[in-house]
Chain length 259, copies 4
């Protein structure tokens, strides 16, 4: 399990959301309150949209709480849209390539959750990813595999339907392998313009997901960064949040996979 | 604050004490029970005596819980005397040179504690270390500075008196600088033959220290590695434990510095 | 391309062969003389047989020339059989999991060479590795894939035939994909007892391979470690060297793949 | 010895100067042409001025040629003034804190050269740095010590006089210690507005330094980044280059220290 944060709105310095708040993501890397694991020290990553269509990313394997480069970059980078992620590994090694967010062209993706029994279906899951996308696979995580398969399923055109299909496929592989552990999937996707937040689990217990909207922007987080719940709303279980330029839509979905 | 373990006795694989037990040191790196901080993820180190007079050491900046090299080495290395340490940094950077244990010739030292207000007396403390020893300073921690100053004070000849003098000197610097934070010092020293364990603090609150003796060897730890207290004895506050080939002596000291 | 060294004989400290000689492997990491690339700074690894059936390994991503842990371990570890490798990456990332040697049970493998056009056949090559072995894949290199496929082909029972079959299969994939770059394969395999050295390339230009035998042991290297050629013999192109307890056999092979 | 690059002018992406050119700084990290060492693989750093008065920096210990984060950041960051540095260590460890550039408030500094016999005067040199500045010392290099001492000597007010004084002091320490190795100092300083380039050595053999001025900006480099000399001018030995908004002044200096 992991913790993450996404922002979309008026340009903000990353440090104002990622490092400075009382219960910032950097603080959560050591003291997460609502996660299965309190410590999220198996690497981290940030991604942001600057002057190019493709996002910049900085990922490293050290714990977020002790990385000077992270503090420094967050102080310098100001962006309309950015992601930040601290990782608690679930069975795959700590390497840069296994840190979130993952990038494909203009798209950026990060995940908090787990494919139960992943190692037993890894081969079959990877076999479903087309060659061209598989070439871009850099790490070994279930999260990156989900992202690549969803891209193959049309994530760039229809984020909700494509992800629903992807999760249905994975559930199929899990059932075929007789896996009883759950598939849990709380995740964020963006192309720098649209933001899509997913919260779903096959056992009805997806990781937490909150959002807070103000006049200047939208923040989506694993847990409130100010240590209190005021002003924060929950993304409902089994639901999806879509946002663009201050407009927010909550919908059901990924539908086909609901319990 | 940190967590550590020392062993002296019949040759043992490091893994049997450092990795395997329920509440092993590797487990404590993520879930320490009796420390100020639960997470000790700012690097780690092991040191052992093999075929040479000088100990081997392996230190790295990643958290102990995710380092494959550590697991691998602990499985291979078997030794009569070894140290292991997981670090929670207290104001100095995470770097290999700041990880314990520290080695000087045949001597090896590791520390759990802190010089209160260290940054305000760092210069003066370092100025007291003779050139020849200062040349061997690789990091920036208070722990390494204490070790080097104690070496200058005769640590190799008389570990108890030399450390008492060192702590008295540091307390003097602290008082002169008007520092009110405490000096806390739970530490271990060995030359591969003798083992010396210190537990002292100027405010009477030194970090925890336990030992367990069996027919085959002595284990000294920050906290019991089996998750229970049975068979473990406490090194008294303000006390010193000296051991060699199964002979254990508990003494008062470092004397001059007692409250 | 990379540089490596293997030893089999009376117990030797690794430092005496890996670090100390004039043109040691550590020196070759910065100044290789017979390699395509002078610098081999994309990580390194050592592997040795101690008291367990499975070898110990230590691998890291820093250049060998600046790693204190490597120097320290090589000074401490003494073994009858050991491998050492410095890496120059050929298209895959610098990560611990991509560093040689690779271990499977009692077997240890390292490679200097390259599958031409690897990225175009990676998928198909990986698909040939059985699930049980694929589960152990930690990195993304062609070298690890070759090792796993050879294991599937019976490497543990018949190192020469299994590798010949493996290389034939890979050549088949390359031809099917219309790849014109060569397959070059200079490699070493051991189970702690038997040592097998391969030197083959589909274009007749495999990386260099030398050996030197004395009363106390056998050293196999990419290039002589004393900077001169005296006492060193070349493993012929297209040939295989097999050794065990001082007995050396040179044979043709891997046969089916010869030009 | 090291290699570096500085830019001042119309906003440019770092990648256009640091990564893209034929003989870019990243290329020089593996194949420097005019340096004592061809390989500069002991870490790297970039520094740039964005929206804050203080520069952003990103430094790491891996070789520049294999760091994905470096490529990624250089593609995203566009700045009016930036530094980039690849390091070849001369006796001090490879750590982030030993990588250039060094930052103090708005000032940024990087160095290519060496204090001969540094270890013999390190203590005395450090003793001359005032407490407030010494608190900011993070690493152990001669370069950082020179920067801090120069700051104490008024570097922010008068870069040329302050550095001259600093170099004279260091030469004094060297003479007192009977050191015969030379002091060589090719360096760059900026506050985001003014750029100062120094090229001096007590033996008349300072590392190379070139500059190229166009309508849009000034580039100062250890060696030409396009692999040819056309359009590049040499900063004379014993000279100083000062630049601000397209205005360049070449002067003698650091005067007092000239041979």
């Amino acid at each position: 399990m992991c913790r993450f944060l996404a922002y979309s709105g008026e340009p903000e310095f990353l440090s104002d959301l990622v490092c400075a708040p009382t219960h910032s993501l950097v603080h959560q890397s050591l003291h997460a309150a609502e996660a299965k694991t309190e410590t999220n020290g198996d690497g981290f990553g940030i991604g942001w949209y600057g002057e190019r269509a493709e996002p910049g990313i900085y990922r490293d394997v050290s714990p977020a709480w002790s990385d000077e480069n992270l503090v420094n970059l967050c102080r310098q980078v100001r962006a309309r849209t950015f992601f930040a992620h601290v990782r608690a590994a679930t069975g795959t090694v700590t390497s840069r390539a296994n840190c979130h967010p993952f990038v494909h062209g203009r798209h950026m993706f990060m995940h908090n959750g787990q494919i139960g029994g992943y190692h037993r279906i890894k081969r079959r899951l990877e076999a479903l990813i087309p060659d061209a996308l598989y070439d871009g696979r850099r790490g070994t995580t279930d999260s990156e595999a989900l992202f690549l398969l969803a891209l193959a399923n049309g994530l760039e055109q229809d984020p909700i339907r494509a992800m629903a299909e992807t999760l249905a496929t994975v559930r199929g592989l899990m059932r075929a392998a007789g896996i009883s552990e759950p598939l849990r999937f709380t995740a964020l996707l963006t192309d720098g313009e649209w933001l899509t937040a997913y919260r779903w689990a096959c056992d009805g217990r997806p990781p937490s997901l909150y959002y807070r909207q103000s006049e200047t922007g939208l923040v989506v987080v694993s847990e409130p960064i100010d240590g209190c719940r005021e002003g924060w709303r929950v993304v409902p279980k089994g639901g999806t949040l879509r946002a663009r330029r201050g407009e927010i839509t909550l919908a059901e979905g990924p539908r086909r996979c609901r319990r």
